[in-house]
C-alpha cells in the first residue's frame, strides 16, 4: 500500500465512522444514547491525553484533575457561585462555556508543563498522580468558588442546556439524551480532526521526536521546553472541554465527580486504545464507559455461571475484575487493541515488520 492509498482508506474510514455515529441513536434506545454520549466525552479526553502520553511520551496520571477544572469552569459559568458568596453570577449557555473550559484548563496545563519539564518517566507519573489525589480537597477548600463538598447543581437552569429537557433543533424535537449524544459526538469528531491536523505536520513530528529521543530532538534544533509545554497545554485543553461536557451531561459537579479513579481510567483508556494512534482511542473510550458495567456482569450475565455473576455484583466485585483485567491486558496486549489489529493486519498481509512512520 502506498501512503496515498493509505490516506484515502483513512478518509473513507473516517467518513464511514461519522455516518455510523450520526445514525446510531436511531438503533439504540434513548437511555443508551446518554451512555454513548459519555463514550464521546471520554474520547475527547483520550485524544488529549494521547497527544501528551502517546505522541510526546509524557505520562500523566492527573488528567482527571484537568477535567475537573473544565467541569467546574462550565458549572460556575452556568449556575454562578453567588449563592456560595463567590463573584460570578452565571447564566452562560452551556455550549459557550466549553471553549472557556478548554482555555482555562489549557492555561493551567501550560503552567504545570513548566515544572513537568524537569521530570520524566516515573517521577512525572508520581507528580501528576499527586495532583489527582490533591484535587478534591483543594476544591473543598475554596468553597466560595466551588460550593465545597456539596458541589454545584445545574438542574435549576433548564433554559441554558438541552441536557435536562427536550430541545427544538431544525424543527425536530430532541430528547435530552439524544441532544447530549449529538453535542458530545459532534465536538469529539471536530476535535479528532483537529488532533489529526496538529499531529500530521511539523508539530506532530516534533512531538514524536521528543518522545523517541530527547537528545536527538535537541540536536535537530527542536526546543524541548516549547514542545513539552505545548503538548501539556493542548492535552489539558482537550481534558477541559471533556470535563465541561461531563458537567453538562451529569448536570451536577462535586469533588467526587472527578475522583482519582477517573485519572486512572483515562490513562488505562489510552493504553488500551493504543499509544500513538488516534482511531484505536474509540476502543479506549468504549472500554472506560462499559468495562465497569461488564465487570458487574450486566451484559455478560448469561455467558457466565450464575454464582460468579452473583459474587461480582457484590460491592467491590467489579473493582476486582477491573484490576485483574487491567493486569492481564498489560501481559497480553502491551500495544493495546490497536496494536492487536495492526498485528493481525501484518499477519494477513505477510509483512513481518511495520512500515516506519
Amino acid at each position: 500500500m502506498t501512503p496515498r492509498t493509505q490516506r484515502i482508506i483513512g478518509f473513507v474510514a473516517f467518513a464511514g465512522f461519522v455516518v455510523l455515529v450520526a445514525l446510531l441513536p436511531a438503533f439504540i434506545n434513548d437511555f443508551k444514547a446518554r451512555e454513548y454520549a459519555y463514550v464521546g466525552i471520554y474520547l475527547i479526553a483520550l485524544l488529549g491525553l494521547n497527544i501528551l502520553t502517546g505522541y510526546t511520551g509524557q505520562i500523566s496520571l492527573g488528567h482527571g484533575a484537568f477535567m475537573a477544572i473544565g467541569g467546574y469552569t462550565t458549572a460556575i459559568l452556568m449556575a454562578g457561585n453567588e449563592q456560595f458568596g463567590g463573584p460570578i453570577s452565571g447564566g452562560v449557555k452551556d455550549v459557550w462555556t466549553l471553549p472557556i473550559a478548554g482555555l482555562v484548563a489549557g492555561a493551567v496545563g501550560l503552567l504545570f508543563g513548566l515544572p513537568a519539564l524537569r521530570l520524566s518517566g516515573l517521577y512525572l507519573a508520581l507528580a501528576t498522580f499527586a495532583i489527582a489525589v490533591a484535587m478534591p480537597s483543594t476544591v473543598k477548600r475554596f468553597e466560595e468558588f466551588t460550593g465545597g463538598g456539596q458541589g454545584i447543581q445545574l438542574f435549576g437552569t433548564p433554559e441554558l442546556t438541552g441536557s435536562i429537557s427536550n430541545v427544538e433543533i431544525l424543527g425536530r424535537s430532541l430528547t435530552p439524551n439524544d441532544w447530549m449524544y449529538y453535542l458530545a459526538w459532534s465536538i469529539a469528531l471536530v476535535l479528532f480532526a483537529v488532533a489529526w491536523l496538529v499531529l500530521r505536520g511539523r508539530t506532530g513530528r516534533a512531538f514524536r521526536a521528543v518522545r523517541d529521543s530527547e537528545v536527538a530532538a535537541v540536536s535537530s534544533g527542536i526546543s524541548l521546553a516549547r514542545y513539552k509545554t505545548l503538548a501539556f497545554g493542548i492535552s489539558a485543553a482537550y481534558a477541559g472541554v471533556a470535563g465541561g461536557l461531563f458537567a453538562i451531561a451529569s448536570a451536577f459537579v462535586n469533588p467526587d465527580t472527578f475522583p482519582v479513579a477517573l485519572s486512572i481510567y483515562l490513562l488505562v483508556g489510552v493504553v488500551v486504545g493504543g499509544l500513538g494512534g488516534l482511531s484505536g482511542l474509540v476502543f479506549g473510550a468504549v472500554f472506560i464507559q462499559f468495562l465497569p458495567l461488564w465487570a458487574q456482569g450486566q451484559d455478560l450475565g448469561s455467558l457466565l455461571p450464575g454464582r460468579i455473576v452473583e459474587e461480582t455484583q457484590k460491592p467491590g466485585g467489579p473493582a476486582i475484575v477491573y484490576g485483574v483485567v487491567l493486569i492481564l491486558l498489560m501481559f497480553v496486549l502491551p500495544n493495546g487493541v490497536a496494536g492487536l489489529f495492526r498485528r493481525i493486519g501484518q499477519l494477513i498481509s505477510g509483512r513481518r515488520y511495520p512500515r516506519p512512520e
Binding site: 480537597s137 483543594t138 467491590g316 476486582i320
Partner: protein
C-alpha cells in the same frame, strides 16, 4: 514570647507529627526499597498496607487472636504476599516500558481495594492500638501512648533494617542485586529471589505502617490513600533511592504538616486548613523535584548519551 500553654501545645503537635511522620517514613522506606531494587514506583503500596491492616483486624475480631500473635502473623502473611505479588505480577513486566509497570501496579491498587470491600464491606472498622488509649503528661505536654509507641516501633524497625542491610549476607546480596544485577548474578547472587525478597520486605514495612495508621484514623478501605501521598512526598524529599532520606523525609513531612495546622490556629498561615494537607504534600513533591530532584540525601542522576 510563647506562653507556657502555647509551648505545650506546640510540643504536642511536634510529638504527634513525629508519630505520623514515623508511619510515613515506614511506607516511604517500602517505596525506596522497591524503587532501588526493581526501579518501580509501587502505586499499590498503600493498598497493600491497608489489606495487611484488615488481615490483622480479622485475625483479632473474627478469629479471637490477641494483638501480638496477630501482629506477627500479619507480618509473615504480608511478607509472603509481597513475594508472591512480585513473582506473579511484577516479574512479567519488569524491564518493559514505564507505562506498563505503572498500569500494572495501578491494576493491583484497584483490585486490592475492591477485594477488601468485597470481603469485609466498605464500612469503617475499629482496630485497637497495642499501646492503649491512655495519655501521659510530661512537663505540661500531653502525649498519647499510641504516638510514643508508634515512634518506638518506627525507630526499632529502621534499626533492624539497617542491621539487615549492613551486617548480614542477605543484606549484602540484596544491595548487590539492586546496584548491579548482572555482576551480582555472576558472583552467585540469586538476583530474582533477592528482588522478590525486596518486595516481601516492602510489604512487611507497609503492614506495620497500616497497623499503626488504623487506630488513629479508623480502619477503612481508603485510609492509606492520603498516607501514600505523604510517603511519596517523604521519599522524594529524602531522595527516592536513599533509605535514610526516606526516614528523615517522613519525619519532616509529619512535623511540617502538623506545624502548619498549629500555626494556622494561632493566626499565622491562617489560610491553612485541614483540606490543604494533601495539596501541601503535592507542593513539597513539585518543589523538591524542581529545585533538587535528587532530594536531600540522594545522588544527582547523571545521564549519558
Amino acid at each position: 514570647m510563647l506562653l507556657a500553654s502555647e509551648f505545650a501545645d506546640f510540643m504536642q503537635q511536634v510529638v504527634s507529627g513525629l508519630a505520623s511522620g514515623g508511619i510515613y517514613a515506614l511506607l516511604a522506606l517500602a517505596l525506596v526499597i522497591i524503587h532501588r531494587s526493581t526501579g518501580v514506583i509501587n502505586f499499590a503500596q498503600g493498598e497493600m498496607a491497608m489489606l495487611s491492616a484488615y488481615i490483622a483486624w480479622t485475625l483479632m475480631t473474627n478469629h479471637g487472636w490477641s494483638y501480638w500473635p496477630a501482629f506477627v502473623a500479619t507480618l509473615a502473611i504480608s511478607f509472603l504476599g509481597g513475594v508472591v505479588i512480585h513473582r506473579l505480577v511484577i516479574r512479567p513486566v519488569e524491564g518493559g516500558s514505564v507505562l506498563r509497570i505503572v498500569i500494572v501496579t495501578i491494576g493491583l491498587l484497584v483490585a486490592i481495594n475492591g477485594f477488601v470491600i468485597w470481603k469485609w464491606s466498605g464500612q469503617p472498622q475499629q482496630l485497637s492500638s497495642p499501646f492503649g488509649t491512655s495519655t501521659y503528661e510530661i512537663g505540661g505536654v500531653v502525649v498519647a501512648a499510641h504516638d510514643i509507641g508508634t515512634i518506638a516501633v518506627a525507630v526499632a524497625i529502621v534499626f533492624l533494617l539497617w542491621v539487615l542491610f549492613r551486617f548480614t549476607k542477605v543484606g549484602l546480596a540484596l544491595r548487590a542485586a539492586a546496584v548491579n544485577p548482572v555482576e551480582a548474578r555472576l558472583v552467585g547472587v540469586r538476583v530474582t529471589w533477592m528482588l522478590a525478597l525486596g518486595w516481601g520486605l516492602a510489604a512487611t514495612l507497609g503492614a506495620v505502617a497500616g497497623m499503626l495508621t488504623a487506630p488513629t484514623v479508623g480502619l477503612d478501605p481508603q485510609m492509606m490513600q492520603a498516607v501514600l501521598i505523604y510517603a511519596f512526598a517523604a521519599a522524594v524529599l529524602g531522595g527516592i533511592d536513599s533509605p535514610i532520606g526516606a526516614v528523615v523525609g517522613g519525619l519532616l513531612i509529619g512535623v511540617l504538616l502538623n506545624l502548619l495546622s498549629y500555626s494556622s490556629k494561632y493566626g499565622a498561615f491562617d489560610w491553612f486548613t485541614e483540606e490543604l494537607r494533601l495539596p501541601a504534600a503535592l507542593l513539597v513533591i513539585l518543589v523538591v523535584l524542581l529545585v533538587r530532584p535528587q532530594g536531600l540525601f540522594g545522588k544527582p542522576e547523571v545521564t549519558r548519551v
